[in-house]
């Protein structure tokens, strides 16, 4: 019981499991009655607040697709109470809001919600029927992941709401519950970006506190540190590292007694994801990978034995990496090589594993071209790309981004990598990419973006401010001729350093996007997303 994962809602859970083991139905019924009372109280409060706030309440607690049999069970509590073993778990206070037959104010959203609820109920019943000797579910989910059925507002991630003290407090409480240390912001933040975190690389998360391994698996701790120190960087690299770490977690996982693997493992992953988020905000590709894993885990049938389930999950993850990253890279290279002709002068920016892959393969297929690598401070990732290309024997030129206007008249094509492709066609990539696309457009040089489909994301964004990442501001300092101009920037109150990580490129600067599904224009991203969703 003790190693059932994080101590969510300790009181209720312990009661339930205890009562389950001791067979005290009465206490459970009492508990459920109490809960029903709370439900009613909540409904009354919500009726008082009428329509508007009721909408926001709904928004705050969207329902998940993953089968929570709890709401159904609580409703049918009086009738369907067989052996204590199959007793359902008490719902979180928020869930009854959804599960109640909703005689709430008769406005349209409520009505459609009722319909949706009916559907969900039916699905849950079938699930429940399938899992007869099932067990009580795992801990209470206080933060449920997004639902596809809820078409209204998606919940805004916490890491872009740093200026809202309520959100920050909520996050701190959640992390405390999960026993993860909270990382504090560093340095003076430019007012335009006060809604984002700004961490210092010199203060990693694990410096002050040690994290017990029962809370977070050590490979995840290592991964988090690698992210925060910049050792593992780049969209693909981070996703692959994440998936490998999760494979290790799954290998070391044992289902606690009276728990179901499909539900417990998902809950185990939650504090890991919070921790990784604290180390470095998750990228879109990592988000998609996590969604996939969670879906696979929850689709494991309950009668599956543990070993079998684990091997199944491991093969799923391997297949994901193979399909979405490795094979996708091969497909993209195949398409991209058609676009490279002999005598080309190709410009690349920074280090993109995919673009490097394309260039190396094109060189192996004996295309004659030369490469211009553009780099920028403070990350200077282009040097890594330069090293790899020079090792292959490709003739390269190297400039900084400020020399772009000088070098562009020589260029025939620009190949850029992407961190994510947003649903409105904007390309989110390393800061500086939009500049390159802008100047290339002025000189009429075609810009081609290469991106795998697993990086496509349903978010929309029009500028680089609302959702971005702030890196350590101390990186901007430079020592030239023994003098560091900005050495004491912290002491000067009116001086701020801004180290952005990402920016968004408008679709009119991009001529073509090469994906594993083919070559599409930037504006076709939502089409691809829709097709993918239908497939899955």
């Amino acid at each position: 019981m003790a190693d059932c994962g994080e101590p969510d809602g300790p009181g209720n859970k312990d009661d339930i499991t205890r009562s389950k083991n001791e067979g005290k139905e009465l206490t459970k019924e009492e508990k459920q009655r109490l809960r029903k009372q709370k439900k009613h109280q909540k409904k009354q409060k919500e009726r008082k607040n009428e329509k508007g706030p009721s909408e926001t309440e709904k928004d705050k607690t969207p329902v998940s697709l993953l089968p929570p049999p709890q709401p159904v069970a609580t409703q049918k509590a009086p009738s369907a109470l067989p052996a204590p073993a199959s007793a359902p778990i008490p719902v979180p206070a928020s869930a009854p809001f959804h599960s109640s037959p909703a005689p709430s104010p008769a406005d349209k959203p409520a009505k459609s919600k009722a319909e949706l609820k009916a559907e969900r109920r039916a699905r849950q019943e079938t699930d429940r029927a399938a899992k007869q000797p099932g067990s009580s579910s795992s801990g209470i989910k206080t933060k449920v992941p997004l639902s596809e059925l809820n078409p209204v507002v998606k919940r805004l991630p916490e890491h872009v709401q740093v200026d809202d003290p309520a959100v920050v407090k909520r996050l701190a409480k959640k992390l405390e519950r999960q026993q993860i240390p909270l990382r504090s912001d560093y340095g003076y933040k430019v007012s335009l970006f006060s809604h984002l975190h700004q961490y210092s690389r010199k203060a990693p998360l694990t410096q002050l506190l040690s994290i017990p391994s029962t809370v977070i698996h050590p490979s995840i701790v290592r991964l988090g540190l690698q992210y925060s120190q910049g050792i593992v960087a780049g969209s693909n690299a981070r996703s692959v590292a994440l998936l490998h770490a999760f494979k290790q977690v799954i290998r070391d996982y044992t289902t606690p007694p009276n728990e179901e693997l499909s539900r417990d493992l998902v809950n185990k992953l939650k504090p890991y994801i919070s921790f990784l988020n604290q180390c470095r905000p998750l990228s879109a590709s990592m988000g998609n990978a996590i969604k996939y894993i969670k879906k696979e885990i929850s689709n494991i049938p309950s009668q599956c034995k543990e070993e079998e389930a684990k091997t199944k999950l491991l093969t799923c993850i391997d297949r994901y990496i193979e399909e979405k990253i490795v094979l996708a890279a091969k497909a993209i290279s195949k398409y991209a090589i058609e676009k490279i002709s002999d005598g080309d002068v190709i410009l690349v920016y920074g280090y993109s594993s995919l673009v490097n892959n394309i260039l190396c393969e094109a060189f192996e297929k004996s295309r004659k071209f030369r490469v211009i690598v553009v780099d920028s401070r403070p990350r200077l990732e282009g040097r890594e790309a330069l090293r790899r290309l020079v090792q292959r024997g490709i003739s390269c030129t190297y400039v900084l981004i400020s020399a772009l206007s000088y070098i562009l008249p020589e260029v025939s094509k620009v190949f850029l990598g992407a961190h994510a492709l947003l649903a409105n066609g904007y390309v989110m990539s390393r800061v500086g990419t939009s500049q390159i696309a802008l100047v290339a457009r002025t000189y009429n040089v075609p810009v081609l973006v290469c991106c795998e489909t697993y990086k496509f994301c349903e978010r929309v964004q029009t500028d680089s401010f609302v959702s971005n990442e702030l890196d350590d501001p101390d990186d901007l300092m430079v020592t030239r001729k023994g003098k560091t101009q900005l050495e004491n920037w912290q002491d000067v109150s009116s001086l701020g350093l801004l180290n952005l990580v990402y920016d968004v490129t408008p679709p009119d600067f991009v001529d073509l996007v090469i994906t594993d599904l083919g070559m599409i224009p930037c504006t076709s991203v939502p089409v691809v997303l829709r097709v993918k969703n239908l497939d899955q």
Partner: protein, 355 residues
């Protein structure tokens, strides 16, 4: 002999100046700012006028041209030197014309009519000797020096006309003129400045520290973030190394990107440049326009193994075409880029354009 001593002294000073110019162009920015260079050049030319032996205006012009050629050859990218030489030549012509009694206006412009009718006038050989020519010329050069000393203040005085409160202003690298401009406005208005650091020399850092010391809210950004941040910028105010004859700029590298980003967001681009930076050159071929410095700044020698196999470029200047510029602010006021060619004809005589 006192005369010989003075001449030796003069040549010594000229040599020292040339050496300074040659050394100053190592890419981290000149050892002295353009204003100082202009003043030193003018002072030197005044000395040449005072001490060299000449009897007529033509001789003096020959001497000045010779020295001017040597000085511009020492550091071709430092155009203020050449500009000052041209100014002094124009002063000599004017003073000569005034001594002769003819009005100044007739010699000013080249027009088609003049070319047809007065073919003889341009054969002016400046051979006549006038007693007071020397004194007049030196006096005029002194006036020029006074003007040069006041340029930064003149420009800074116009700051309040262009900056309102709560603005976000972007600038690139380091320009003493822009620094004075912004500091003057900051005395009365509150605004925010974003400085692009301008790698690899990172002169933007110095600019930012100076501005923040004057209690201006400053933010330093990397060059790569220029476009990302531009959507929130209200104005872009930059300095330049040279203003070309067509109204374009030869400015520090990265300025063209800033200008393009400003045009994309329809943000006005204001250039603060004193008149002595106006040069009669046009932006012709790439070879003469660009100046390169050691690629060590871009890819240091610590990356030795790849350094030998890669081409590394480190250009210092960028060309910004006149259509991207909204306004020039100079010591004589604000001008549109399309007006620059007229200003040029007021400052320099067309025959002197090729030294």
């Amino acid at each position: 002999m006192p005369g010989a001593d003075k001449e030796a002294d003069l040549t010594e000073r000229i040599e020292a100046f040339l050496a300074d110019l040659k050394r100053g162009g190592c890419g981290t920015g000149p050892i002295r700012g353009s204003g100082e260079t202009a003043r030193e050049t003018t002072a030197l030319l005044r000395k040449v006028t005072a001490q060299a032996r000449w009897s007529s205006a033509g001789d003096l012009m020959e001497i000045i041209r010779k020295e001017g050629r040597r000085m511009t050859a020492a550091q071709p990218s430092e155009t203020t030197v050449g500009n000052m030489v041209l100014r002094v030549l124009k002063i000599i012509r004017e003073e000569y014309a005034r001594s002769r009694g003819s009005s100044e206006e007739t010699d000013q412009q080249e027009s088609l009519h003049k070319l047809l009718t007065s073919g003889g006038l341009s054969d002016e050989n400046f051979r006549q000797h006038y007693v007071h020519l020397k004194a007049n010329v030196i006096e005029a050069i002194n006036e020029l020096l006074t003007e040069l000393e006041g340029t930064t203040d003149n420009i800074a005085m116009q700051a309040l006309e262009h900056i309102h409160s709560n603005e976000v202003i972007m600038t690139v690298g380091r320009s003493r003129t822009v620094e004075a401009f912004l500091k003057d406005a900051a005395r009365k208005r509150k605004f925010h400045v974003i400085v692009a650091e301008c790698a690899p020399f990172c002169q933007g850092h110095e600019m930012a520290t100076n501005l923040s010391k004057a209690s201006i809210e400053t933010t330093v950004i990397a060059d790569a973030a220029i476009f990302a941040v531009m959507s929130r910028v209200n104005k872009v105010i930059i300095g330049t190394q040279t203003v070309l004859a067509n109204g374009g700029l030869r400015a520090v590298n990265g300025t063209h990107t800033v200008a393009l980003a400003a045009r994309h967001h329809s943000t006005p681009l204001i250039v603060c440049a004193p008149m002595f930076k106006l040069s009669p050159q046009f932006p012709n071929e790439e070879d003469t326009f660009h100046k390169f410095v050691s690629p060590h700044e871009v890819l240091p020698f610590t990356e030795g193994e790849i350094l030998s196999k890669v081409n590394v470029h480190c250009p210092v200047f960028d060309y910004v075409p006149p259509e991207l510029i909204t306004l020039f602010i100079s010591n004589i006021g604000g001008n549109a880029p399309s007006y620059i060619y007229r200003l040029m004809s007021e400052l320099y005589h067309p025959e002197d354009h090729d030294l």
